[in-house]
Every structure is written in structure tokens, then in C-alpha cells.
């Protein structure tokens, strides 16, 4: 658009084209983090409405009148209500927010509307952080806000000299200069506990294990390479085959489905405390950073006990958060060596629970259990069963056949092809039929090292199900039928276990995990993951407890109140320093002219002599006035004035330094003379 067109637009109180363009760009960037949680119709509506506004700016279409606008608004809100169906979650709130922004495009006529949009979009950036905290998304968000700020700048100076590079330079300089203050504030601003409890309920279904298990379930999960959690060990990382991350126990077989017999207690949604322990890890401790699951269970190795207070231990050696994990949670556990439930007897109600079987179904498996129980002792039963899996042609596969009726029988005796969930279910069934109390444990098994090898990444495809059986002398013993069938699964992971089949991550075309053979892809993803991990641990996870820990290590130990003072101090000091700096700059500008300083000193002398300087007065005039009031220094004053004139009207004279010195001397003489005959001369005037 031409400059004249812009000027005309300005006259109408319109928004300058450049500013609008930046704002639309900012909007697009800020929508990116939301792309997979917004309904498609809303994304298209955003695109269409923004494009409409843009075409109106370039004059290709007209902005809608009031009727069209109202109609569009009603239509879109209608669609919104229809799709949301009164489910009020943060998700739907966020999409309403986006809808409001989209509708505002049609109304952006004056700079005032522009500011409204700016504010909404800036808040949208903050809302985005509720859902995504990865470093790349954080950068995207900040970039979006930077675009908005450039838009504002462009609104206030549409024809900025130097064009938009200079605008970016200005903004960049501004951000750079304020960066130290931002960092200090981030570190020292006291992290208060929430003012009121706000659930972050998301309508989105999370990928992850669930509290029920049908035979096919976990193989579905195996198709996802999403990250489940990351672990840092204080000591050595346990070998692959010992990395059994227990999540929950399923002990009730209900037809085909395994469930928890104990109901999860109802828990009002709320914030899970993010503080997951601070300070360096002890040798037996490990630190887990779990992706949000919207569930309360935490994953732990066997024999752990809580080391941070956002997680507590339940019966069955399981760990729970006090609130569902709706955002990434870090927690810390410590391992105690070799502790098992020795000597603990199983109470009769527990025994009944772990022996529960449906009344009907899978007769052959029951028979197998009964036969084994008749011939062998409990440990031998287990041994025989595992031996059976090991020797007979059982297959571990991500593509198990359908086994609709008496699935366990079909798996054990006919098909002999299944996934971990199948085998765990079948094993538990047989053991229970043999009278051995047993249960299914669901969680993850494995985890590959991240970049640098100092932490583990556990992904969804590491999801696993195995069995625990109660042996009177040894307590609960882990039995993994999958390990018997496919040792590769527990030694090196799913990828190797199903390598022949080629079924690893069939559905995920774009997953970097799928292309691990490409060294560069592998390297890049691992590096990125490492950066993200550090980011999550040190920046995202920097909350109350970690702040207190950091502060307590500073000398003196700072409490919340001191932090408050410190923050105020930082802000005050920053303002002061900035103010001083600009004052100094200004002063320096004045100082450049030494002449001016001498002249100013002379003015002060005059003022002291009772001859206040008038604005716009020439040195000669002033000298004359001074001479009249103080005849004793008349000649000195005139001489001074002449020299000043000389300097300003003959700039070519190169005796500047000398002249300057002389001027200073003259002024000093005047001052001295004024001080001496003070009374006498003053009276006469």
C-alpha cells in the first residue's frame, strides 16, 4: 500500500496496514500452540475472519456492517455452544477465548480496537503456557508476543524511519536491556501458593495407561511415541530388565476386563503440588518428571518410598499424588535395597481378592491351573508356567489375532500369539486357578537414555503389564510372562522385540522415534529432549519449594517476606539505575561543551551578585547589567563577555583551550572580587 493510502487511512482513524499485518501474524503464531486442541471449524473460522479483515484493509472487500457482524457472531457462538455441549473445561474456555479474538477481527476499525485485540492476544499467550511448556512452544509464544509489540509500534509510528528492521532493532534492544531484570525477578519474585483453587480440567483425552485393561489395550498404546516421563537417578541407572515402573494394580477380572477392585477415591479436581523435592539427589534417590496424565498415580520402581511430599505411598506398594496430575509433575522417590514383604501374611480378605475369578469361562486354563497346583508347590507352578511360555511356540506380537470367546484359552492353547496384556492376563488367570494369589501390574518397562546418558526417557510404547504373585516366604514376586516369551522386550525394548514384524509405530508416520536409525534425527531429538528436560526442571518447575531451597542456600536464608522486599528492591534499583543512566547520558551531552559550563558558572556568579540571568540575553547585555550593579568588576565582566562572543562568532579560532582557561580565570576573579567588597557595592545599586 502506498504512503498516501496509508496517510488517508490514518486520517479516518483507521489502523495502519503494517500494524494490522503484524497483529495478524502474531495471532497466527499464538494459535500454533493450540492447533491440536482447537476444533477444526474454529481454526478455519479464525483464518477466514482474519483474512476478511485483511482483504478489507487492502480494499478488496468491505468490512461487514452491523447486521452481518451480529449474524456472524450469533452463528459462530451457536456452533460453539453446539460443539461444547456445556462441558466447561479450561479447554473450552480457551477455545471461547480464541473465538472472541476471531470475532474481534471484524470490528477492528480504530486504534482502540487494536489495543483490545492486543490485550486479548497477550493473554492468549499466557493461556497457551497452561497447556504447553516445552521450550520450543515457549519460544513460539514469546515470538508471538514480540510480533504483537511490533504491531503496536507500527500502529504508533506507521512510517517509522528505517522501516521495520529498525522497529525490530528497537524492540530487540529493549528486550535485551531489560533481560537482567526479568531474570532477577523470575528468580526472586516470591512464589505464593494459589489464591484460590482452580482446576485445570482438560477435556482432552490423554494418551497413557488406564485403570482397566482389556487384552488389546496396551498394544494400542504401543503405537505412540509420546513421552510418559523422564527419570534422573542419583546413583547408577538400573539395568534395562529391572526398569519396571509400577503404576497401578488390576486385581479383578470382570468378564474379559481387568479392573481395580478398590475404587479410586473421588478427588475434587485441583492443583497437584508441583514441588517435587529439591537439592541434589542422594545415591538411592531418583527424580521423575511425569507428563500430565490427569490421573493420580505416580510411577515407581519396586521398593521405593516417597522422598518428596507431593507423592505418598498407598497399599500394594503404589504411589499416588494428592491431586490429579493436570500439568507436568516432578516427584522424588528413594529406593531401599532388597526390602520385600517377608513375613507378612496375606489377610483373608486380601487373599480372597487376589484369588477372584469369574464363575464361568476359560475352562481349559482353569484346568491347567488346577493340574499344576495338584502336582507342584507354588514356586514350581510359576516355574512350570514360565517354562511353558519359554519352550512352546508362543509369540509376542503387536498384531494379535482376535480371540472373542474364552480368550485366555484361545491364547494359551490355540493361537499362542499375543501382547503383554494378553499374557499377563492369562498368567494371572492360571495362577489364581492354581490357588496362588496374584495380580496384574500395569505401568512401563524400560526407558532409553537421553542425550548425555544421565537420564532416562520412558515413552508410551514402553507401557507394559506383568504379574505379581504372592509366595508365603517371599511376599509379592514379580513374574513377567513376556520376558519368557520375548526376552528382547525386557532387555532392550519393544522396538527390538517386534523388529521382525515391522509393526513398531506403524501408525506414527512422523514420529522421530520411528527413524531412529537415522543418526542425525536421533541425535537432534535427543538433544532437544535434553534441553527440554533441563528447561522443565529448572525453569518450568521453578516454584515455591525450589525457590525456597535456592534462597536458603544464599547467605542468611531468605524467607517469603524477604523475597518480597528483595523484589521491590530489584524493581526499584532497576528503575533507579535506568533513570541515573539516562540522566548521565543527558549530562554528558551538556558537558560536551566546556564553554557552556564556564558560562553557566558565570551565570551563577551573576546571580549571586544580584543580577539574575534573563532568558535569551546576550553575554554583552548581561555583562553591562552586571557592570552597573557591581562597578568593581565591570571591566572583567566585559572582557569575559567579549571572549564568549569571540568563541561563538569565530568558531575557527584554535586557541580554544587557552581561551577556556582564561575564561575560567576571569570568572574566578569576578567571584573573588564580589566576595570582598560585598556590602559596599551592593548598597549602591
Amino acid at each position: 500500500m502506498s504512503a498516501s493510502g496509508m496517510a488517508a487511512g490514518k486520517a479516518r482513524g483507521d489502523v495502519p496496514t503494517g500494524a494490522l499485518l503484524w497483529l495478524i501474524a502474531g495471532f497466527a503464531v499464538l494459535l500454533l500452540p493450540q492447533w491440536d486442541r482447537l476444533p477444526l471449524w474454529l481454526i478455519s473460522a479464525c483464518g477466514i475472519l482474519a483474512a476478511w479483515r485483511w482483504f478489507a484493509q487492502t480494499g478488496r472487500v468491505r468490512l461487514p456492517g452491523r447486521w452481518t457482524r451480529t449474524l456472524t457472531m450469533l452463528l459462530l457462538i451457536g456452533v460453539y455452544i453446539a460443539t461444547v455441549k456445556a462441558r466447561f473445561t479450561v479447554d473450552t474456555a480457551a477455545s471461547f477465548f480464541v473465538l472472541a479474538v476471531a470475532l474481534k477481527w471484524l470490528e477492528t476499525r480504530a486504534p482502540r480496537d487494536f489495543y483490545v485485540l492486543f490485550f486479548i492476544l497477550a493473554y492468549l499467550a499466557a493461556v497457551n503456557f497452561l497447556f504447553r511448556q516445552d521450550i520450543l512452544w515457549a519460544i513460539t509464544n514469546i515470538a508471538g508476543v514480540a510480533l504483537l509489540l511490533i504491531g503496536l509500534q507500527s500502529l504508533n509510528a506507521p512510517d517509522l524511519p528505517g522501516g521495520f528492521p529498525s522497529g525490530w532493532r528497537r524492540l530487540g534492544g529493549l528486550l535485551l536491556k531489560t533481560l537482567p531484570v526479568v531474570v532477577l525477578l523470575f528468580i526472586f519474585f516470591p512464589r505464593m501458593s494459589p489464591l484460590w483453587s482452580v482446576p485445570l480440567v482438560s477435556g482432552e483425552a490423554r494418551t497413557g495407561i488406564t485403570d482397566t485393561m482389556k487384552p488389546g489395550d496396551i498394544s494400542g498404546l504401543a503405537q505412540s511415541s509420546e513421552r510418559a516421563f523422564r527419570v534422573t537417578f542419583g546413583g547408577t541407572i538400573p539395568p534395562y530388565r529391572d526398569r519396571y515402573w509400577r503404576g497401578l494394580v488390576l486385581d479383578r477380572l470382570d468378564g474379559e476386563t481387568w479392573r481395580q477392585s478398590r475404587e479410586e477415591p473421588f478427588q475434587a479436581p485441583g492443583r497437584v503440588a508441583v514441588d517435587g523435592g529439591v537439592g541434589p539427589l542422594a545415591a538411592n534417590e531418583y527424580d521423575v518428571l511425569m507428563e500430565p496424565t490427569d490421573q493420580r498415580w505416580a510411577f515407581a520402581l519396586k521398593g521405593s518410598s516417597p522422598a518428596s511430599d507431593n507423592v505418598y505411598e498407598e497399599e500394594e506398594d503404589l504411589f499416588r499424588f494428592r491431586r490429579p496430575a493436570d500439568s507436568p509433575v516432578r516427584y522424588r522417590l528413594s529406593l531401599s535395597e532388597g526390602q520385600t514383604g517377608t513375613g507378612l501374611a496375606l489377610a483373608s480378605d486380601q487373599r480372597r481378592r487376589y484369588l477372584q475369578l469369574p464363575a464361568m469361562g476359560n475352562p481349559r486354563a482353569r484346568e491347567l491351573g488346577r493340574t499344576l497346583a495338584r502336582d507342584y508347590s507354588d514356586p514350581q507352578v510359576i516355574g512350570h508356567l514360565l517354562e511353558r511360555f519359554r519352550t512352546q511356540p508362543y509369540f509376542y506380537t503387536l498384531r494379535p489375532p482376535k480371540m472373542p470367546d474364552d480368550g485366555i484359552d484361545a491364547l494359551l492353547f490355540d493361537e499362542k500369539r499375543g501382547f503383554c496384556a494378553h499374557y499377563a492376563g492369562a498368567t494371572t488367570f492360571v495362577l489364581r486357578a492354581a490357588g496362588i494369589p496374584s495380580r496384574i501390574v500395569v505401568g512401563y518397562q524400560g526407558g532409553e537414555p537421553g542425550a548425555g546418558g544421565d537420564y532416562l526417557i520412558v515413552r508410551q510404547y514402553d507401557a507394559h503389564a506383568w504379574v505379581e504373585a504372592w509366595l508365603p516366604q517371599r511376599g509379592w514376586v514379580r513374574i513377567d510372562p513376556t520376558a519368557a516369551i520375548s526376552p528382547a522386550r525386557v532387555e532392550s525394548g519393544l522396538r527390538d522385540a517386534v523388529a521382525d514384524e515391522g509393526s513398531f509405530l506403524e501408525g506414527e508416520v512422523l514420529s522421530a522415534q520411528k527413524y531412529r536409525d537415522l543418526a542425525i534425527v536421533q541425535w537432534a531429538t535427543l538433544q532437544l529432549d535434553r534441553i527440554n528436560y533441563e528447561w522443565q526442571r529448572w525453569v518450568v518447575g521453578y516454584q515455591g519449594q525450589s525457590q525456597m531451597d535456592l534462597m536458603s542456600r544464599l547467605s542468611g536464608g531468605l524467607g517469603l517476606r524477604e523475597l518480597g522486599y528483595l523484589t521491590a528492591g530489584i524493581v526499584g534499583a532497576a528503575l533507579l539505575v535506568a533513570g541515573l543512566f539516562s540522566a548521565l547520558q543527558l549530562r554528558r551531552g551538556e558537558r560536551r561543551d566546556a564553554y557552556q559550563r564556564v558560562i553557566r558558572a558565570w551565570h551563577q556568579t551573576c546571580e549571586r551578585a544580584g543580577v539574575p540571568v534573563r532568558q535569551g540575553e546576550t553575554p554583552d547585555t548581561l555583562a553591562e547589567r552586571l557592570a552597573r550593579v557591581q562597578p568593581s568588576i565591570a571591566s572583567t565582566a566585559r572582557h569575559f563577555a567579549r571572549m564568549v562572543n569571540n568563541h561563538y562568532y569565530n568558531p575557527a579560532s584554535d586557541e580554544d583551550l587557552q581561551a577556556l582557561r582564561r575564561l575560567r580565570r576571569l570568572n574566578a576573579v569576578m567571584k573573588r572580587q564580589l566576595r570582598r567588597p560585598e556590602q559596599g557595592s551592593q548598597r549602591t545599586s
Binding site: 496517510a7 524492540l171 500439568s327
Partner: protein, 347 residues
């Protein structure tokens, strides 16, 4: 209450910014406050902070601090944008009352330059100007005038909201030099003019005869038509027929021609007549109580007459000099006895 506050504020500002035709804006004279948008921005930050606290979200904290820092940084940018700028009133224009009178300003930037500077006065707003570092830009601000006399805006507002419009830094230039506004011309009623002594003189003017004219030697400024060329050919002397020189006063525009009429109205009539005469290029003189301008023609003369009409009976406004407290009255009343007052003129 509000009124007294505003009055005090004005008085304070006026003390701080004495009248002057030139001002270098510095820390001492720049005012800065958040705009409406800036206040809303502050509220937004507060909401963001509460969101961050409630969701225990570090990144929202970070975003809040970042935007807060941007605000503080913008405060300095906005201030620095205006600071170091020098605004000078170069000259003032003249026009008739009711018109807008131009005031020509020059904005000179320091090393830093100044972006999106807005000048305004009495509702008249100039489009924003950009002054590149160490350069200057000239602008004309048209100040609406309502009545004749000295026109001097109480304050010319210089303002910038750059970069984000969240803050505005402003200051005022209180010009010392006044523009002169001529009385709005009003068609003089014929009859009243006739009522004066000039009935026959008018006739004489319509048919000027050479025999009525005074002859005098040519002097600078005389129109060449009036030179008696025949006589020049004859005697070599440049003689001018000064046919206004006689006592007829046909070309005198006199304040006293309109007895009983309001003084301002009379001035408006005279203003109109001066314009007419000037257009006809006819010579005329102007008589005002206490002031007489000898008959003449030409643009300068017209200007002089109009100025006389404009400021008749008005004191020039206080000038730029910051008088020591209490000396002004003395200066105006008995300037003769205060010896140091005329030093400026003498030097």
C-alpha cells in the same frame, strides 16, 4: 476543589515552563504518564500474575515479568524519545480574526532522534513527525483565532506515545512571541462614511485634479505614476503631485468616522476599508486615537495599517524574559527610571 487543583497545577507548570520561543526538552520539563491503554495493560499484567500464581505456572510468571519489563523499558524509550529534542518557534504568521494563524516551528533532534512526535494546540493536531538524529524538521501549526489582537497560545503541546502507545511523554512550549490577528473585515456602511466631513472630498477623490495637488520633490517610495514626467522633461526635476497632501483628507480612514459605533466594529470597518484600498492600490492614511499613519500605498503600508488596527488599545503580551519576582510592574510603569531595563536595546 478540582478547579483549584487544576489551577494550581497550571500555575506550577507555568512556573516550571516559563514563556520562551525555544525549549530544549529535558528530564526537568518532560512529563510522563501511562495512557488509558497503559493502565489497561497494567491491569492485564495483574490478571496474568494472578493466573500464574493460581496455576503455579512459572512460564506465565516469566511472561508477566517480560511484559512488565517491556512496559518499564517503554517508559524510558518514550521519555528518551522526547528528551533532547529542541522546539523553536521560528516565526508567527498574521491573518484576520476567525482564520487560523500559522506558527512555524522547528524541531531539532539530538543524537538520539525523535520518532512520532505530535504537536498540538487548542484542538489543532499535526500528524506525527519523525526527526532523524541531529536533524531538524519544520512544521507549521495553525492556531485558530477568534478576535483581533495579539494571539499567543497558552501552551503548545508536544507529545509522543512511541513506541507502544502505552505511555505518553509530553511537555509544553509556551511561546513568547505572539502572532498578530487583524480585525475581521466588515463591510463599512456607506452612510456612516458620508456622515463624516468628507462629502466633497470624496467627490474630489473620484476626480483628482492636478491643480488641487501639492507639488513636492520626489522622495523614495513615491509611485512613478505620480511623478510629473512633463515637468521632469522640462526642468530635470522629479516633482510629485501629492494630491492627498491637501486638507481634503479624502483618503484618510478615520476611527472617528463612525461615531457611536462600538470600537471593535469600527476597527473591523477600517480593516475592510484598508483591504479595499490596498486592492485598488489607492493611497490611504489611517487615523486611530493616539496613532496616525501617514498616507501611503503598498504591501508594507497595508501590513502596517492592519497591524495598527490589530493591536490598537492592546498591550503587548508579557515577553519571554523571566523577570525577577516583583520587577515587572516597575518595568512597565516607569521604565525611564529603571536604568538596566534598556540595556538590551542599547547593546
Amino acid at each position: 476543589m478540582l478547579k483549584t487543583f487544576r489551577h494550581r497545577w497550571r500555575a506550577w507548570v507555568n512556573r516550571r515552563l516559563p514563556r520562551s520561543d525555544s525549549r530544549l526538552f529535558t528530564q526537568k520539563t518532560i512529563f510522563i504518564l501511562p495512557t488509558g491503554a497503559g493502565v489497561v495493560f497494567g491491569i492485564l499484567l495483574l490478571i496474568m500474575l494472578v493466573t500464574g500464581i493460581n496455576y503455579q505456572n512459572s512460564l506465565i510468571y516469566l511472561m508477566t515479568f517480560l511484559l512488565g519489563a517491556v512496559f518499564v523499558g517503554a517508559m524510558h524509550q518514550t521519555h528518551n524519545n522526547l528528551s533532547g529534542l529542541k522546539l523553536t518557534l521560528l516565526r508567527t504568521g498574521e491573518d484576520f480574526a476567525g482564520q487560523s494563524v500559522p506558527f512555524h516551528f522547528r524541531a531539532t533532534a539530538s543524537k538520539r532522534g525523535a520518532v512520532a512526535i505530535r504537536l498540538s494546540c487548542d484542538g489543532e493536531v499535526l500528524p506525527p513527525i519523525h526527526v532523524l538524529p541531529d536533524q531538524s524538521v519544520d512544521v507549521a501549526l495553525f492556531v485558530p483565532s477568534s478576535s483581533r489582537g495579539y494571539l499567543r497560545p497558552e501552551r503548545v503541546l508536544i507529545e509522543t506515545r512511541f513506541p507502544f502507545g502505552l505511555l505518553k511523554a509530553w511537555s509544553w512550549l509556551r511561546p513568547a512571541t505572539a502572532a498578530i490577528v487583524f480585525p475581521a473585515p466588515l463591510k463599512a456602511p456607506e452612510a456612516q462614511l458620508m456622515m463624516g466631513e468628507g462629502d466633497d472630498e470624496n467627490a474630489a477623490q473620484s476626480a483628482p485634479g492636478q491643480d488641487h495637488a501639492d507639488l513636492r520633490p520626489w522622495r523614495e517610495g513615491d509611485l512613478s505614476q505620480r511623478v510629473l514626467w512633463k515637468r521632469f522633461a522640462r526642468s530635470g526635476q522629479m516633482v510629485v503631485a501629492d494630491w492627498q497632501g491637501d486638507q481634503g483628507q479624502p483618503h484618510w480612514l478615520d476611527f472617528n468616522h463612525y461615531p457611536g459605533v462600538d470600537a471593535e466594529l469600527r476597527l473591523s470597518y477600517l480593516s475592510s476599508l484598508v483591504q479595499d484600498r490596498s486592492k485598488q492600490q489607492a493611497p490611504f492614511g489611517l487615523r486611530l486615537p493616539g496613532q496616525v499613519i501617514e498616507p501611503d500605498t503598498g504591501a508594507t503600508h497595508t501590513q502596517r495599517c492592519l497591524r495598527a488596527l490589530a493591536v490598537w488599545g492592546q498591550k503587548p503580551p508579557r515577553d519571554a524574559i523571566r523577570w525577577p519576582h516583583g520587577t515587572r510592574d516597575r518595568e512597565v510603569s516607569d521604565s525611564q527610571t529603571a536604568p538596566d531595563v534598556h540595556v538590551g536595546g542599547a547593546a
